[in-house]
């Protein structure tokens, strides 16, 4: 409660003008003041002033929020809404025990890489044996609560193959070495994204190291378990101590890792290490757009004209001497070599990009993904209305609040469909899944592919 009380002064900066309601994805769908930032701040203020007890409806009020950060980004008075909401959740968790199921999932599974792997293997087995279909069959499906059905759709919408980021391709003429931080969601549910990222990095001249990392801690943080988030942060900081740069292809992990500095700011042992660690974290697009990238040939699309060129010793890819190591390369704007990336000749593909909350607002990365997409021949980037409006996924929000997530997702899907794009690219595994589900509901037969940006770039995604 103390850390929340410390924030009360900044909460008082809210002059209740109501402008946060104009950017809140949940308010837009419900017009419910209790879901707005202004409302939640008033409730937290009432709690701190002793006029309100932290009962069930208080907890609901705290958790009826996707934490998309649109309110904090938009607040004229600069109220750190998201920070206050997280502190309130954390204060509540300290005061009352987390429900057993949550504790088991977040602490017992997500925070334990070995068990997580086991869990994913179990899911794979489930899918291979067709067991998961049981939950999809008519009668059973109708009996399941919406949140469980949502979890099933989320987990089994594509074939699972378990962790498979073992054989990392080597860079031909390495410029240096980067450490990759694969998030739990990409490595468990979208290993092809991990492979693509590694391939992209290798093609662009980077040797990739892959420490066996722990969960970034964001799921724990948003569920008020700061203690576990700190524990995971310390472990990751130690694991990545000796590398110069940490690249991640998950918007949420990136935001969490860059947030370690703040999370551990008061930690006597780790405070300074956390600051150094956060400073070396780069989102994949931030890193590639900054240092230059070579895109691979499209799978299946035979390159016309000259044979594929290795990004190479002549430094043609980046216009920078190959001898330049990472330190020399710095993070200056780099080029994009897409000469190997082939689409059918002359064809133009409309592609739209969705800004994940944790990337656009969480890390301020908006330009770089667009820069990379625009560099691909044959790709026409068509912006949707409000590309940085939340998709409604919010990590576990889509299971815990399936109804609300569906409404917000519907608005996102309609914005995507309005662009007429055949592909929507984004850079967060949660967004990928949520947008897929929302498009299935809204598209009425229109086929729009949803792809993670790393997969789109790194696998030579066939358009």
């Amino acid at each position: 409660m103390d850390s929340l009380r410390d924030l009360q002064k900044s909460l008082w900066k809210c002059n209740k003008c109501g402008s946060c309601t104009s950017v809140c994805p949940l308010y837009a769908q419900t017009k419910d003041e209790a879901l707005s930032a202004r409302g939640r701040l008033a409730v937290i203020d009432a709690l701190l002033d002793g006029g309100l007890a932290p009962g069930k409806s208080y907890e609901e009020c705290l958790y009826n929020c996707i934490l998309c950060q649109a309110c904090s980004a938009n607040c004229a008075s600069g109220v750190p809404t998201t920070e206050i909401f997280l502190a309130a959740r954390s204060a509540l968790t300290r005061e009352r025990k987390q429900p057993l199921a949550q504790r088991l999932f977040f602490r017992g599974l997500l925070a334990r890489p070995d068990r997580l792997k086991l869990g994913v293997s179990a899911l794979c087995l489930c899918q291979k044996t067709g067991l998961h279909r049981l939950a999809g069959s008519g009668v059973v499906s109708r009996l399941l609560p919406l949140s469980v059905r949502r979890a099933r759709d989320f987990l089994f919408d594509a074939p699972l193959s378990g962790f498979r980021v073992k054989d990392i391709p080597k860079a031909d003429h390495p410029r240096g070495c980067v450490a990759y931080f694969p998030g739990c969601a990409v490595s468990a549910l979208m290993p092809q994204v991990c492979r693509s990222t590694c391939r992209l990095l290798a093609l662009s001249g980077w040797d990739v190291v892959l420490p066996e990392n722990y969960c970034c801690g964001m799921p724990h943080l948003v569920h008020g378990d700061e203690e576990t988030a700190r524990r995971l942060a310390r472990k990751n900081i130690t694991l990545y101590r000796d590398v110069e740069v940490v690249v991640t292809d998950c918007a949420t992990c990136g935001a969490a890792l860059k947030g370690y500095e703040k999370l551990l700011s008061g930690d006597s042992g780790y405070g300074e290490m956390a600051r150094l660690f956060s400073a070396k974290v780069r989102d994949l697009t931030e890193f590639l757009a900054g240092t230059g990238v070579s895109l691979p040939a499209a799978a299946g699309a035979a390159p016309t004209g000259s044979a594929p060129r290795a990004p190479g010793p002549d430094g043609a890819v980046f216009g920078r001497p190959p001898s330049a190591g990472y330190a020399a390369a710095g993070l200056t704007p780099g080029g994009v070599d897409s000469s190997h990336f082939h689409t059918s000749a002359g064809e133009v593909h409309r592609v739209t990009y969705h800004d994940p909350c944790h990337l656009a607002r969480g890390q301020g990365v908006r330009r770089q993904p667009r820069q990379l997409l625009k560099a691909i021949p044959g790709v026409k980037l068509v912006e949707m209305e409000n590309p940085d409006a939340c998709c409604g996924g919010g990590g576990s929000f889509l299971f815990t609040h399936p109804g609300l997530a569906e409404k917000v997702g519907g608005a996102k899907a309609r914005a995507i469909l309005n662009t007429g794009a055949g592909v929507v690219v984004t850079e967060c595994p949660g967004c990928v899944k949520q947008i897929k589900l929302s498009l299935q509901r809204e598209s009425g037969g229109a086929r729009v592919k949803v792809v993670h940006l790393a997969e789109f770039l790194g696998s030579g995604f066939t358009l």
Binding site: K9, W12, K13, N15, K16, C17, G18, S19, T21, S22, K31, E33, A34, S36, R38, G39, R40, A42, V43, A46, G51, L52, A53, G55, S57, Y58, E60, C61, A76, S77, G78
Partner: protein
């Protein structure tokens, strides 16, 4: 607050006529419907989210029977406490009634429910080549119903008037639950009393608006923005009159005083001149040829009046740049002190320089930072006192300063509020501005319409009804 038993009965009875999911009485629901954009707060006994005129009528009938106060509420963005449930009772939330029922292109009118967000209405009619001019700064999140109830204005008032100038027809639920329809799509209509205007600006004390028929204009195809700075405030004020006298009615004519210029500069570093006493932002709209000619004349007038610096936007990006300064005033001054209390006096245009000098004196006398900006074209100024609402000693000074501002405004032939309303915040000062006979007449009308005194009690006239 009624007794617990009475409250339980009220909730039970409400749930009989309204979907129980939309009848809320958790502590959290009561808190989030207890405030607006002022510094005040008061908990309702129960929150009802209405979805139709019939439901509104049902709630009012029940409230009349049980003698429970009802406070209609839109998005709760008002600046005078109009939607705060000051006497408890039912917070009647209308944001769920958010359909635009019709956009009639031939007759250039829109028919919409009270919960429609003003900016959404503007966007919808723009898609039809039409224009709904009223533009309160909260247009992105306030509602049409609230705009009607408070007679909201905005920068465009000088050329286009305010909400009242666009309301052609209303459906209103009276305090007894009766539904009346007034006016319609007609531009001219003298069948019966002109009671449409009676409900515009009634601050939710006479009836609940459940549908509004609004006049639209053709969308102006061209816009031109000019910004001019003046080393002396008087010159800026004289320029306002000179521009109008030259035959141009700009669509907006905004004034920023030296303090607001400096706070914006601290906040955004736009390169605004810190030493000038005033800046005017002037926008013309209409047919392209007319706009060009008007802009040229405005520039000439500003030069003649000795503008220190003159900027003319060549395209919409440059215009945005000029507007950025004006739009940043609110955020910039919000960051200076924990709270800001925005007043809303309206004086005859010619009294603007005197009014500003008076406010500067008040600022010194009470030792409180006061920023002045507003709609110089129509005399509507927003002196904002930067303070800390949690400092009771300072708040005493703030109250005294507010009183002094109102006294000065009235002395200069002005009024307490241009576009925010009286509500709770300004009722203490009502007698400064209106004679006892006028106030008594208003009270008598209120009593005739709402004999039980259930609709938004305690507003405008205070508890002394």
């Amino acid at each position: 607050m009624p007794s617990i038993a009475a409250q339980d009965m009220l909730v039970k009875e409400l749930k009989r006529i309204i979907d129980p999911k939309r009848v809320l009485d958790t502590p959290e629901a009561l808190v989030v419907y207890s405030y607006d954009a002022t510094t005040q707060q008061s908990l309702p006994a129960v929150v009802v989210k209405a979805s139709s005129t019939a439901e509104v009528s049902g709630v009012l009938k029940l409230a009349a029977r049980l003698r429970v106060p009802v406070v209609p509420r839109g998005a709760g963005t008002g600046l005078s406490g109009g939607s705060i449930p000051a006497a408890g009772g039912i917070a009647l939330v209308l944001t769920g009634m958010d359909k635009i029922r019709e956009i009639d292109r031939e007759n250039m009118v829109a028919v919409c429910e009270p919960g429609v967000i003003t900016a959404d209405l503007q966007k919808a009619v723009e898609r039809e080549g039409l224009f709904y001019p009223p533009d309160p700064s909260s247009l992105g999140y306030c509602t049409v119903g609230g705009n009607v109830a408070e007679n909201a204005g905005g920068p465009r008032g000088i050329k286009y008037g305010v909400t009242k100038d666009y309301v052609l027809g209303l459906e209103v639920v009276l305090p007894g639950g009766e539904v009346v329809r007034l006016g319609g799509k007609q531009i001219k209509n003298v069948t019966g009393y002109n009671f449409v205007q009676f409900f515009v600006g009634c601050e939710g004390t006479l009836g609940v608006v459940t549908e509004a028929t609004l006049k639209l204009l053709p969308s102006p195809p061209a816009r031109r923005t000019v910004a001019a700075t003046f080393s002396k405030l008087e010159r800026a004020a004289e320029t306002v009159t000179a521009i109008l006298y030259s035959g141009v009615i700009p669509s907006t004519l905004e004034l920023m005083d030296q303090k607001s210029i400096n706070y914006v500069e601290d906040y955004l570093r736009l390169g605004l001149p810190r030493h000038v006493e005033a800046m005017l932002i002037i926008e013309m709209d209409g047919m392209p040829e007319a706009v060009e000619a008007e802009a040229a004349r405005v520039v000439a007038v500003c030069r003649d009046m000795g503008a220190a610096e003159l900027k003319i936007a060549r395209d919409s990006a440059e215009a945005d740049q000029l507007w950025k300064a004006r739009r940043a005033v609110s955020p910039a001054i919000s960051r200076v002190r924990p709270s800001k209390i925005g007043e809303d006096i309206s004086v005859p245009r010619s009294a603007i320089p005197d009014m500003v000098r008076e406010i500067q004196k008040i600022e010194e006398r009470f030792n409180l930072p006061i920023v002045i900006f507003g709609h110089a074209g129509d005399g509507n100024l927003h002196p904002n006192i930067l303070t800390d609402k949690r400092d009771p000693q300072e708040m005493e000074r703030v109250e005294a300063a507010i009183q002094a501002i109102f006294e000065a405004a009235v002395r200069l032939g002005g009024t307490l509020s241009g576009e925010h309303g009286i509500g709770l915040s300004k009722q203490r000062f009502l007698s400064l501005n209106l004679s006892p006979e006028t106030i008594n007449f208003m009270k008598a009308v209120k009593k005739a319409v709402d004999p039980a005194g259930i609709l938004n009690p305690g507003k405008i006239f205070g508890s002394d009804m």
